[in-house]
Amino acid sequence: MKPFLSRRQALQEAALGFGGLALSSLVAVGAEPTSYTLRPKRPHFPAKAKNVIFLYVGGGPSTIDMFDPKPLLRKYDGKPAPFEIKGRALNGSQEVMASPWDFTRCGKSGREISNLLPHFQKVVDKVSFVRSMQTDRIDHSTAQFTFVTGRGFTGFPTLGSWVNYALGTENENLPGFVALGEGASIGSRAHSSAWLPPVYTGTAMRADAKAPIYDIKRPDDMSGVQQQRLLSVVNQLNREQKGHHPLDQDLEARIANYELAARMQLEALRVADLSSESQATKDLYGLDEKVSGPYSKLCLMARRLVESGVRFVQIYGGGGGNWDTHSNIAGQLPGLCQYIDRGTAALLTDLEQRGMLKDTLVVWSGEFGRLPTIESRNAAPGRDHNPYGFNMWMAGAGVKQGFDYGLTDELGYAAVPEFRVGHADIHATIQQLLGIDHQKNTFFYEGRNESLVGVTPARVLNEILL
């Protein structure tokens, strides 16, 4: 037997399927399981973070207009850039555009944050910026794939799936990986487990108290008593069947699943019901605000999910390509920032107040940033994609507070080479915080031990870690 298969086999043999606790005696028979499990597994080394909330802003948010002011942009506003700005050969120009917004120096860390983000300005001390991000993809879908799967094309498992595969989840009454919102233009592929077993796929949930998961709600014309009877009859039929196959654990798992599904109905609906939150919390998030309310609801639901033991929550923020401000950035960006600002800040404050921030890693990023130059001089000006230099931030478990790592050049165009950070470094760092060795978290696929990072060189960003 090939030695590198041993880990996979070990995992398979450890895997009992849902409800597997009752089955331990059967596994002693040595049956090779056909299903994988979400039962909690030990990390490779002690973890600093238990859970992750990944705020993923698809479309290419203009971080130079949000968190990373560059005084030189003012100096060269309307003039040619002092060095060549290479973008895509579309409508690019060399004409610099200063940020149309003012920045305010905030908090103890004294960092300048755009006045478009008044709520975030108040919590900025909690986060560490990585100011020298770079990605190798310049188009949305390929860059989005890169940021969530490590590869610039479709068909690879996402970060949340890898984390669940490595660690399982604390609450089997809920999925281990939940995707909230519908802002990713790559659709459900942004939370797919691809060729990792489907148990690790992100379950799409919505901030809808009535239908947070597909089929979660009992149909209106079926009473609770009827559903209980239905469950009981299925159970009786399965027990009959089980009598003929007493050693089959997959059948046992399915029997357990009905009971779990029934509990999940209650649990998922409970988590999605935000009405039980205190008035103070509701006010903090501003749930009824017209622009920011919908995103605030996602953020609050993320907190409730993590609180209930969901390992990885991914929020797609910003409504698809809206952040893709090729033109009229002055008209578009304020509304986009308003959409995410209050919920994001409230989430950090709320997690901290509840003592959850020390166990929960919050990550904020887009797939790339935007250029310091004007894309089109004819229409209202906007900025084109910038994969060469942009900002992202992390906060919470195991991450320094108020720390900055790296920088871009004086125009905010490209990451300074010695500080360059790629998606693989972020993936390695997130896994490190969760106690996962990114090189050991592998799955045997098509003749290789595949991992999230793959063959891309990856470095844990120890500088931003506590």
């Binding site: 090939k2 849902f18 028979v29 040595g30 090779e32 056909t34 299903s35 994988y36 479709t154 068909g155 790559i186 659709g187 459900s188 592929r189 797919s192 691809a194 060729w195 077993p197 489907p198 148990v199 809808d208 009535k210 239908a211 597909y214 089929d215 979660i216 709600k217 009992r218 149909p219 009827q226 559903q227 009877r229 239905l230 469950l231 009859v233 299925v234 009786q236 039929l237 399965n238 009959e240 069947q241 003929h244 196959h245 007493p246 050693l247 089959d248 997959d250 059948l251 798992a253 399915r254 699943n257 009905y258 779990l260 599904a261 029934a262 999940m264 109905q265 098509e446 003749g447 290789r448």
Partner: protein, 245 residues
């Protein structure tokens, strides 16, 4: 061969190399006739084995690598849907033509739009879209075509599948049609209806105990037809339907 996507150095070794050789040579010598090969395999004694458990064999060879039995396998997503349509009498056998439309259901899930096109055809004819997977099929591991070449289906057992079987609009629609059909055929004779139900769904008559479970389920509801419908939903959601033995 377990590693169907890798016949190379890093793939698994075949469990029966001589048998594989024999089949390969025979296949070539008979004009590369796939239909003949398939028939040859499915008519063989080894393929037609039951899935009965023999504790000693199971301990020695749990996954039946040595082909001592047919291990139980959960049906693939499309087969589950198609079989449900078939046993309930809804299946539309029309072949060929363009894909059938899908729509968003009340809770946002994608499902067949039976008000348009030719409804209730085999799952093969449903619209396939990477970003709009039909929720029922996706729950049972139908790929969303994100992995470009999925050589092997996962056969997971997840609570979300149970949710689809308990609350999903498709199962509800199918069990209603199934109940209507049986009610008509049996003229309200519940024992006859149950007998027909087991024959249709499990290809065997019910045991005395299963019949009693059915009678009890029907009797518990005030409306016996609704009782039958609920029982049929249970039949379609039970392991005997979802697995091949």
């Amino acid at each position: 061969m377990k590693s169907v996507d890798d016949f190379g150095m890093q793939g698994d070794k075949p469990s029966h190399p001589e048998l594989l050789d024999y089949l390969a040579v025979d296949f070539q010598e008979n004009g590369w006739d796939l239909k003949r090969l398939t028939r040859q395999i499915v008519l063989s004694q080894v393929y037609r084995q039951s899935s009965a458990e023999v504790a000693g064999y199971l301990a020695a060879d749990p996954s039946a690598k040595l082909l001592w039995r047919k291990p139980p396998l959960r049906l693939e997503a499309e087969t589950i849907r198609d079989s449900m349509l078939q046993v309930s009498g809804l299946l539309n056998g029309k072949m060929y033509g363009p894909q059938e439309p899908i729509k968003r259901g009340a809770d946002g899930q994608w499902l067949e739009d039976e008000s348009k096109g030719d409804p209730n055809r085999r799952s093969l004819y449903l619209t396939q879209s990477r970003t709009r997977p039909v929720a029922f099929l996706h729950a049972f591991d139908a790929p969303t075509m994100t992995a470009d070449n999925q050589t092997q289906r996962f056969r997971s057992a997840l609570p979300t599948q149970s949710l689809a079987l308990l609350n999903g609009p498709f199962v509800r629609r199918v069990s209603q049609a199934f109940a209507n059909q049986l009610w008509e055929q049996s003229k309200g004779d519940t024992a006859d209806a149950l007998h027909r139900a087991f024959l249709a769904a499990y290809s065997r008559p019910p045991s005395a105990r299963e019949l009693a479970i059915g009678q009890q389920a029907i009797a518990t509801e005030t409306d016996p037809k609704e009782g039958l419908r609920l029982f049929l939903q249970a039949i379609l959601g039970a392991n005997d339907f979802l697995y091949s033995y």
